[in-house]
């Protein structure tokens, strides 16, 4: 509150569309409040660009409270920037210093083609969920909710995996652009719960197959995905998915 305005230099990736060549452009902002969010700084930049007759920077964003998973900036070499467990929209400028130069790129991954500037196409994630990230229960089929007793620890573990926001930071962080953390979070949630048992084997096989089809790379075991995940999805989910996959292959008919 009432803190000094900062001067910030931004180097932003500009690319008109998926087919065009991209390049970095440099912008200067002189009155950045430390209480601003990173995206609000981009709002200010865009208003400035429009006023000057230029083209605003296209970036994805929606809820601006860290839950929709739409924002996706690669900031100084890290997805969602320097802070732990924070999405770009919840990153505030007080995390930077007066005079800083900040480099902003889109998610870099073959399976996430750039649409424009900092906006990428993450529809591959939807297709992976469509392949098996669900319990096949039509509306109206359910039994009374309390007839399925789930130990609190199990429910908590399933919930922890289910908090994934599908932003794709894990893919952007990985040098192989692997989607294992994203896929394993959904596989884990449903493998842990009794409701997920009927399709347990089919699910993991179908989702992994789709993941490979989308061109995501293999797991490197370096753990960058989990370290950079804004929701701190645990690396042990990947181990669980691997176990689930092997188990499914062994037990499948």
């Amino acid at each position: 509150m009432g803190s000094e305005a900062m001067k910030i230099t931004l180097k932003v990736w500009r690319q008109p569309n998926s087919k065009a060549e991209g390049k970095f452009e440099t912008y200067q902002l002189d009155h950045v409040s430390p209480d601003m969010s990173f995206l609000e700084m981009f709002d200010v930049l865009n208003e400035q660009l429009i006023a000057e007759g230029g083209e605003p920077v296209a970036f994805d964003h929606d809820c601006r409270e860290g839950i929709c998973g739409m924002c996706s900036m690669f900031i100084n070499g890290r997805p969602h920037g320097p802070k732990q467990a924070v999405t770009t929209c919840q990153l505030h400028m007080r995390s930077f210093k007066d005079g800083d130069t900040i480099v902003v790129e889109p998610w870099r991954a073959q399976s996430f083609p750039v649409i424009k500037d900092l906006t990428v196409d993450r529809s591959a994630f939807d297709r992976i969920i469509a392949a098996g990230g669900f319990v096949s229960v039509n509306t109206g089929n359910a039994v009374d909710a309390n007839s399925i007793l789930i130990p609190k620890d199990t429910a908590d573990d399933a919930f922890a995996a289910a908090t994934c926001i599908g932003c794709g930071a894990c893919v952007a962080a990985c040098k192989n652009s692997s989607a294992m953390l994203f896929v394993s979070a959904k596989v884990s949630q449903l493998a842990l719960l009794p409701q997920g048992q009927a399709e347990r084997e089919n699910r993991v096989i179908a989702m992994v197959d789709q993941m490979d089809k989308e061109g995501f790379g293999s797991c490197t075991n370096t753990g960058a995905c989990s370290a950079e995940c804004p929701k701190e999805i645990d690396l042990s989910n990947i181990a669980r998915m691997n176990r689930e996959y092997v188990r499914a292959k062994l037990v499948s008919k």
């Binding site: 509150m1 008109p16 569309n17 409040s33 209480d35 601003m36 969010s37 609000e40 709002d43 865009n46 208003e47 429009i50 006023a51 007759g53 605003p56 296209a58 929606d62 809820c63 601006r64 409270e65 929709c68 998973g69 739409m70 467990a85 919840q90 007080r94 649409i115 906006t119 529809s123 939807d126 969920i129 469509a130 098996g132 990230g133 669900f134 319990v135 096949s136 229960v137 039509n138 509306t139 109206g140 359910a142 039994v143 009374d144 909710a145 309390n146 399925i148 007793l149 789930i150 609190k152 429910a155 399933a158 919930f159 289910a162 908090t163 926001i165 599908g166 949630q189 449903l190 409701q195």
Partner: protein, 661 residues
């Protein structure tokens, strides 16, 4: 009363209406369902659940969302929970009680029939979500956990930490994606609906714009479902997502769908206060925090002391003082007005003085700290131990909210009280629909927050998720059959039909208009200006004078927009500024209708507070004689609207002055 409005509430006793309806509504056989196409616009709780369920039934579904994935819809941000009359806590809950609380909470401006149905199907929602693998919070014995929300005296709220909306939406999204995978739903992400196409008075499709290529597309449907959320962003600053908009509903309105109670907006009492002029949105702190957070301001005006230095006896816990029966858990409209009253009177806190404290210290230490100490057999625990133990419990209950608060304000709510102030959160108003959720345009439906139907003049906490899913999973799958059973002979209409061509032409000329102004002011600046007018004159307190001024100001702003707005780029590219221009242009029209509606309603009720109509102690003063109706506005072109009134009949509930004292 208007003869154009038929709410189609089934006859018979309240508790049997829905059962009776379901048992007698015409059905569509499976073979015919395969030939019937349904368009679903919006993929939040209402849209995703409707699209998935209709596809399961065998209809051919096309679903649209403007975000990059259906999973992003703003339902995802709902925090606190979802109500259901399960009575798992054995604390006296029932379908009737949930129905009663909702009608009363809505200040007697909702329909009995709709609300009773909502309460009835609430129990099925929880079952369905659990079956899908939604990881609700549980007790050690494995049963589901509940908590309290405002305006009720039972614990009927189911939750998943502070991210219940996320978990419910991901459940509905996975059901939707399952149908996408099976080929029963065709999903159109990054598509925005820009008009409804009507032929011979019936909704027959939409014009949508592919937001990546910029091209316009024509889509036919035997029925069109708008599940496009609320219009709180008309205030610019709100807890809505940046993209939340009224465009789909507004286009429908201009094609003949009446707009119900547009002025009924919900100002949520517990949001993080505005910190600067660059502010793009406001962040909610869940109502569930009022279970354990106590709201107060200093008793002394303009008290500059740190909150932790203000002794207990010099604090005014004004909600507990004014409303002893419900205390901090009064409904949202009441809590918001009470906060405004204290701040306006000069007792506000924080740099802007437009905030009050939400303080967890008491319950952290005394409620949870002591309970934990006794659980662990610690006798005579000191304060430090109590705080340490209590902190763990509070962290488990509200951890993600506390983290979010700290990230935004740089203050630690475990150590100092949160500063909160009311902010626009939800719109009870929306497209007028009948019992079947059909608008006044045959074949055009509105579900979830996009319709006006269930919350009257004020929505109770944890009821939005309930309504969205009730409409999508359990209501529309039955009611749409009533219409589609008569459409089985309608062959898909060629999109080269002149109605489609004309509608597309109109959309095209509007896009050209935005791009051709080539003025100097940004779309954002207009939106901000509109928001200020709305907040100051059609916000928490409204007056005849202010509303009349607002209408003139909005008209002038709208005129200026079409003269001086600057929309960069062109149509045939990914152009978020162009998308935003269309949405803001629609808000500039909606704002006027909201003021008109607020001006018409010469009473105070729920979230609608007219300064001229209040009791001696500042409570809302309803006028049931004159205003016990739904205001359904018909668009007549230009600045002209006609008012139709749907009288609200209460056959089961005795209307009373709402009291939470």
């Amino acid at each position: 009363m208007s003869n154009k409005l038929d709410s189609k509430i089934p006859a018979g006793p309240l508790a049997e209406k829905w059962t009776q309806y379901r048992s007698t509504v015409p059905l569509v056989n499976p073979a015919n369902k395969r030939n019937l196409e349904v368009i679903v616009v919006g993929t939040g709780l209402a849209g995703a659940s409707a699209a998935a369920t209709l596809a399961e039934l065998g209809y051919k579904v096309k679903a649209f969302c403007f975000q990059d994935s259906p999973r992003r819809a703003h339902s995802i941000a709902a925090q606190g929970g979802i109500n259901a009359a399960k009575n798992y806590q054995n604390d006296g809950d029932s379908v009737y009680r949930l129905f009663y609380d909702t009608i009363k909470g809505g200040d007697y401006r909702a329909r009995e029939g709709n609300v009773y149905r909502l309460a009835e199907v609430s129990v099925n929602i929880i079952d369905q979500c659990v079956a899908q693998g939604v990881p609700f919070a549980r007790e050690y014995g494995g049963t589901l956990s509940n908590r309290s929300f405002g305006g009720t005296q039972v614990q009927r709220t189911f939750y998943a930490a502070g991210q219940t909306g996320q978990q419910l939406l991901l459940g509905a999204y996975s059901a939707l994606e399952r149908q996408v995978g099976l080929g029963n739903v065709k999903m159109y992400s990054r598509h925005e609906m820009l008009d409804v196409v009507t032929i011979e008075g019936k909704a027959r499709g939409i014009i949508a714009r592919n937001l990546v290529s910029g091209k316009l597309e024509r889509h036919f449907g035997h029925a069109v479902l708008l599940c496009t959320g609320g219009y709180g962003n008309v205030f610019y600053l709100s807890t809505n997502a940046m993209g939340s908009n009224v465009t789909a509903a507004w286009k429908a309105h201009k094609k003949g769908a009446f707009f119900g109670n547009p002025c009924f907006t919900q100002i949520h009492p517990t949001c993080i206060p505005v910190s600067g002029h660059y502010q793009s949105k406001l962040t909610l702190m869940s109502e569930s925090l009022r279970n354990d957070g106590r709201i107060w301001v200093p008793k002394q005006k303009d008290d500059k002391r740190h909150p932790n230095d203000i002794p207990e006896e010099e604090r005014d816990y004004y909600l507990e003082r004014r409303y002893p029966a419900f205390g901090n858990l009064v409904p949202r409209d009441i809590a918001s007005r009470a906060a405004k009253e204290r701040c306006d009177a000069g007792y506000g806190v924080g740099p802007s003085k437009m905030a009050v404290y939400l303080d967890f210290a008491y319950n952290l230490k005394n409620k949870y700290g002591r309970a934990e100490a006794s659980k662990h057999g610690i006798e005579n625990p000191d304060d430090a131990t109590l705080i340490r133990l209590g902190r763990e419990v509070v962290k488990e209950k509200y951890g993600n909210l506390f983290d979010m608060y700290k990230q935004i304000t740089n203050e630690d709510p475990y150590e100092v009280p949160m500063r909160i102030y009311p902010a626009v959160h939800y719109t009870m108003g929306g497209l007028w629909v009948d019992y079947e959720l059909m608008t006044t345009v045959p074949g055009l439906y509105a579900l979830g927050e996009a319709n006006f139907s269930d919350h009257g003049a004020n929505r109770l906490g944890a009821s939005a998720l309930m309504q969205g899913l009730a409409d999508g999973y359990f209501v529309i799958p039955y009611t749409v059959g009533s219409y589609l059973s008569k459409e089985i002979h309608t062959k898909p209409i060629d999109v080269n039909h002149e109605a489609f061509v004309e509608a597309e032409k109109a959309v095209q000329s509007r896009l050209d208009q935005f791009l051709n102004v080539k003025g100097t002011k940004t779309v954002e600046s207009y939106h901000r200006e509109l928001g200020l007018i709305m907040w100051n004159k059609c916000g928490m307190a409204r007056s005849e004078e202010g509303l009349k001024e607002a209408i003139q100001e909005i008209r002038a702003l709208r005129e200026d927009f079409y003269k001086n707005v600057r929309v960069p780029g062109n149509q045939y590219e990914f152009n978020p500024e162009l998308d935003k221009a269309g949405r803001v242009a629609d808000f500039l029209e909606l704002g006027e209708l909201m003021c008109l509606d607020a001006l018409d309603r010469n009473e105070s009720c729920g979230g609608h507070f007219r300064e001229e109509y209040q009791t001696e102690d500042g409570e809302a003063l309803r006028d049931d004689e004159a205003y016990r109706y739904v205001a359904a506005w018909e668009y007549k072109g230009g600045n002209d609207w006609g008012l139709h009134k749907e009288s609200l009949e209460y056959e089961n509930i005795k209307i009373a002055q709402r009291s939470y004292k």
